[in-house]
């Protein structure tokens, strides 16, 4: 029984409540948001330390013994994700100080932001299938509001598509939960995994697993269920896009990994082959979509889809190295992809546009920003020694071990295409001359950001870039944690034991 588990949930909801009490005071809300996110980062780092030193942490709220109560569980995989969520929450809360406009802040951006983090952490920490659904809904309803906050026409249009498809996915998930409850008689993940071990009802279990696959597939934007993502992610302000791109799809991937390592391992030859052949078109279509776009936010949105493909591919290989690679890939993607969104936001504040035809001259005028972009882009494309290289290397190495040559071939080709997209942004926005139609040159009313706003925008980008470089170069201790996490995923008995026989 460990009370540290409750803090990653308690801190965001308390922060949100305090921010709501002082709804009228924008300044107070801003600083309570940063303070709460900072505290969250501290506590989630401590949680990771506890899980790493003392093994899987379990909390039974209200002292209801598992499987009767709702359990909170943190194994290394969850703890790593909670920790990186804390880091992102902190970085983006600082970034929002420089980016968010007065109107959105006075309509409650800060409390919503904290409740979103609350939902994400809840989904990572819960050990109960129905509770996972509830966390998903907490996350969804706040993301709906954040997406449509500000009421621009494009935002409303994007939100309509996002809302409808996500409601549908939640309902498919819920019916999957119902079927699993009907088969096993429990909702606790550990008890369910134990009940499934005797191998009865395999056909029905696999049917339910496909419902989970479709539902989490919509949430994590895999082929052919990803169309909502590039249609909506570019519409809200860049702060919101960054936090969505960092966390929401990754919660989908987390849930996929959780159910397909803990529950649905009866017929790996069938279920994981489906996963493998979903991953290939996800990678390819995502990267091709990115190649056809000229708006930086749309390019990056399509790259989210393509990167999800690598994670699903690693899950489909289902070996220790592959799962370690998947976890590394999720963490790397949360860091590098959001950093690219944040950099794009800073560039927009300097030059006034997200469109490559109206961007230019950044390398000449803003060398610091250019180097930050270069670090993140090179990491995303997978060049050594940054995190992206190790993430891709690990997943592909695992593929070579199980001899899936065709899939590996596609993965390598997609890596090359990613490099192409990043070069396109570099050529269009950084090395090219500043075009005449750029707002900074053509619109006398446009002022590039400066002063404290600039510090607030650049500090979080530098912080995350430091993590990308640091984890890439000094990666060995980190890899040890990853291999331990993969061991815990591959051997569910540890998880079951920790929850049911504390």
């Amino acid at each position: 029984m460990s009370h540290i588990l409750i803090y990653p949930l308690l801190i965001p909801i308390l922060t949100a409540s305090i921010a709501l009490i002082f709804f009228k005071s924008r300044v107070f809300q801003r600083w309570i948001n940063v303070l709460g996110s900072g505290l969250l980062l501290g506590f989630s780092a401590y949680l990771l330390y506890m899980v790493q030193s003392d093994g899987i942490q379990v909390l039974q709220p209200g002292n209801w013994e598992a499987p009767f109560g709702i359990t909170l569980v943190a194994d290394l995989f969850s703890a790593l994700l909670v920790c990186v969520t804390g880091l992102k929450a902190f970085a983006i809360s600082i970034y929002s100080l420089g980016d968010m406009d007065e109107r959105r802040e006075s309509f409650g951006f800060h409390p919503l932001y904290q409740i979103l983090i609350f939902g994400v952490n809840g989904a990572f920490l819960t050990g109960d299938l129905f509770n996972l659904y509830v966390w998903f809904e907490v996350m969804l309803i706040t993301s709906f509001v954040l997406l449509s906050l500000g009421n621009r026409k494009t935002q409303i249009d994007g939100a309509v598509k996002y809302v409808v498809i996500n409601l549908l996915s939640s309902l498919i998930f819920l019916s999957g939960v119902g079927i699993m409850y009907g088969i096993t008689g429990t909702l606790n993940l550990a008890a369910m995994a134990e009940a499934l071990q005797d191998g009865e009802n395999t056909g029905l279990v696999i049917t339910a697993s496909m419902m989970f696959l479709v539902s989490f597939g919509i949430k994590s934007a895999v082929f052919p269920l990803f169309f909502w993502l590039p249609a909506s992610y570019h519409t809200p302000p860049i702060t919101v896009t960054a936090i969505f791109g960092a966390l929401l799809t990754k919660v989908g991937v987390y849930s996929l990994v959780r159910v397909f390592t803990l529950l649905f391992t009866q017929d790996i030859g069938y279920t994981h082959t489906i996963l493998l052949w979903i991953s290939v078109p996800t990678m390819v279509v995502g990267v091709l979509g990115a190649a056809s776009q000229y708006d930086v936010r749309k390019i990056l949105s399509f790259h989210i889809v393509s990167q999800i493909g690598y994670m699903i591919m690693g899950l489909a290989f289902f070996t220790k190295i592959a799962l370690a690679g998947v976890i590394y890939y999720i963490l790397h993607n949360i860091l590098a992809k959001t950093n690219l969104f944040l950099v794009a936001g800073v560039a927009q504040k300097y030059v006034g546009s997200y469109h490559l035809s109206k961007l230019g001259g950044l390398y000449k005028n803003y060398p610091l920003l250019s180097s930050l972009f270069a670090i993140s882009a090179i990491s995303l494309a997978g060049l050594p020694p940054l995190t992206g290289f190790w993430a891709k290397y690990t997943v592909i190495y695992a593929g070579l071990e199980v001899q899936e040559w065709v899939v590996i071939g596609f993965a390598l080709a997609v890596g090359l295409m990613t490099m192409f997209s990043m070069t396109k942004i570099w050529m269009g926005a950084y090395w090219s001359k500043l075009p005449d139609k750029a707002p900074v040159a053509s619109d006398p009313g446009f002022k590039p950001v400066s002063g404290l706003h600039r510090v607030a925008l650049l500090f979080p980008v530098m912080l995350i870039a430091a993590f990308i470089v640091g984890l890439g170069i000094y990666g060995e201790p980190f890899f040890r944690i990853l291999f331990d996490a993969a061991d815990q995923l591959l051997d569910p008995s540890m998880y079951i034991e920790a929850v049911l026989n504390p």
Binding site: F130, Y133, V134, E137, L140, I141, F144, V145, S148, N151, R152, K153, T154, Q155, I156, D157, G158, A159, V160, K161, V163, V164, L167, L168, S170, L171, L174, S175, V177, G178, I179, Y181, G182, L187, A231, S232, H234, T235, D295, Q348, G352, S353, Y354, H355, K358, P439
Partner: protein
Amino acid sequence: MEPLLAIVVGVLVAFSVYLMLRKNLVRVVIGVVILSNAVNLLIFTLGRLDRGIPPLIPFTESVPSEVFANPLPQALVLTAIVIGFGLFAFALVLTYRAYTEIGTINVDDMRMAEPPYEGEELPETAVKGEETDS
């Protein structure tokens, strides 16, 4: 009783799929609501329909005296209904905002977030967005 409820669930799902494939956004939203009711009924059915006393334990005893009805699926359904209601309210408001802001509830005509590519032909009723920078 189970086969009957199973058929009801199936019919409800069929209705909702039909509605969700319409172009009218209001019908799509109503389709989602019907689907959520179908799922609630599915959970209720999967919790086994057995006749029994309410799951209340008399004051003098510590275990129920007879076979009792399983309360958990009802708790789940109740939670799902509450969540579904909140989301439905939001979806309706969003539909209304879409109508007042964009001026249409035909989902094919909403092209604000994804403006047409060069040379792409749209129906004449489409409300086109422009490439904006903000």
